[in-house]
Symmetry: C2
Subunit: 192 residues, 2 copies
DNA sequence: CCTATTCCGGAACGCTCGTTCTTTTATGCG
DNA sequence: CGCATAAAAGAACGAGCGTTCCGGAATAGG
């Protein structure tokens, strides 16, 4: 049926994602997208809807990919300390890549959460999701004697989540990889 | 000499600061400023220069106030643990106030650092400043036997700085005060 | 009181934004 | 082979942006 698309829908979405990640929502104009994605304005509207819809689609894609990675890392087989260490490594490598764009969710939390209820709700849900994964893995670790049973898994999970947020900001604005790794190493000591 | 200003220069600057803090640079239009500060467009330009100059003046004011507060808290007389605990308390109270606007510096780091060299340099300098204060107080604490001498003061300082960043983001986007306090308490355990 | 100087309010400007409309081009199906 | 359908390209639109210009209002100094 009719003419065929001249671009890969998913691939262009990822390019838009990286643009939004690097520059933010407001600082990325539709003209920027048209120009740097190499796709015409009309095609972008036809394919993804308006600018906000494109952003949200990209954000959700980003979050899904991230959560998948986290769930894979925090499976029951991997020791908790190793899981957190590996997670921090991967995250630092990811947020520092390509000119330290940081984390799209963290950037969205700062830029959009206060005046966009959808983004705020998404951020809160995502935070709960991550904390949930951490809590269940930490609880299992307690039952298996990996970490002290006196500790509060929920508090630990939130602590790690907050650490992630801090690293994402530092990565974006300061970009000192060694510092981030140092902090990650120290944060892990909370499990001892 | 001639007519007198109808508004308090410092007071209006603080109001602008709060507006920028809550909404960010791009999301705060000059019309917003005119309307909500109750000062005419021309007067704002005459007094503070253009929008970017106003923002930077407000940011520097904010940073100076913050650094003063930190230096006061981390004087040699106050025990380190108490100083950090008090700092976290004050910070959580401040970033959560008035609808959780977060920290203006952290917001700037996320929104502006990547494409504004001045802001980036300011952020880096500010980070070094805070880390410096922490390092000297932590070193003193080691000499006085308050904390273990085997620990690296620089690493500890960076860890606390990164924790601050995380709390600022969480405060702005999630606004769960109890969680922040919980994390602050856990972070302090790094000194044990 | 008069004048020089500053402040203020509003109209106006040029520009960029996100979005839509129009036209042309290309393709799959009967 | 057309014909219906969808994609792409570009012009165009209204709205909002940051900024400037201008004329009137107010006040301190001579």
């Amino acid at each position: 049926m009719s003419r065929v698309k001249e671009f890969d829908e998913a691939e262009v979405l990822d390019q838009a994602l990286e643009l939004f990640r690097a520059r933010g929502f407001k600082h990325t104009s539709f003209n920027d997208l048209v120009q740097e994605l190499g796709v015409s304005r009309q095609s972008l509207y036809d394919t993804y809807g308006d600018k906000q819809a494109l952003y949200q689609t990209a954000l959700r894609r980003y979050l899904d990919r991230g959560l998948d990675g986290i769930r894979r890392k925090f499976d029951d087989a991997t020791p908790v300390r190793a899981a957190f260490a590996s997670f921090f490594d991967t995250m630092i490598a990811g947020t520092c890549a390509n000119g330290s764009p940081g984390c799209l969710m963290v950037n969205s939390m700062v830029e959009l959460s206060p005046h966009d209820a959808d983004t705020r709700a998404l951020a809160q849900a995502h935070a709960r999701e991550i904390e949930g994964i951490f809590v269940s893995r930490l609880s299992l670790a307690q039952r298996q004697g990996e970490i002290d049973k006196a500790k509060d898994p929920v508090a630990l999970a939130r602590f790690f989540y907050h650490t992630i947020l801090g690293l994402a900001v530092a990565s974006r604005a300061l970009g000192d990889k060694a510092s981030l790794q140092q902090t990650a190493r120290l944060a892990l000591r909370i499990l001892d």
